[in-house]
Symmetry: C2
Subunit: 74 residues, 2 copies
Amino acid sequence: MQELARALGTKIREQRKAKGLSQDRFALMCGVDRSYMGRIERGEVNITVEKLYQLAQTLECDPASLLPKLAESQ
Amino acid sequence: MQELARALGTKIREQRKAKGLSQDRFALMCGVDRSYMGRIERGEVNITVEKLYQLAQTLECDPASLLPKLAESQ
């Protein structure tokens, strides 16, 4: 699980940075606690598909684009 | 959330049927309780991204292919 969560967190962080958002700003926009967002990006938590859609909506990207390729997740 | 979970459950069910698997067989292969699999397919639960990958692995498909398009999920 860790590998998947870590790869997913990295993709979320990359997309956030591509949008020029700080982690604090992004957490605020998503209505997510700042420290929890840090744990998501570090791959320390296993988010739900619903949370994936919420983050993608804020990042204005397709949720599928945040999913790591299977090789990356093993 | 319900719309997303329902759309996701439908996609999982469609892919399962395309593989010719019964819900019982699919649940067994995934190591998931039979009644819980029914709830997933009916969109009554909000699965994690990790569970999405496990289901996709058993269905031998790309996890992203199970994700409903944004329009379907609203």
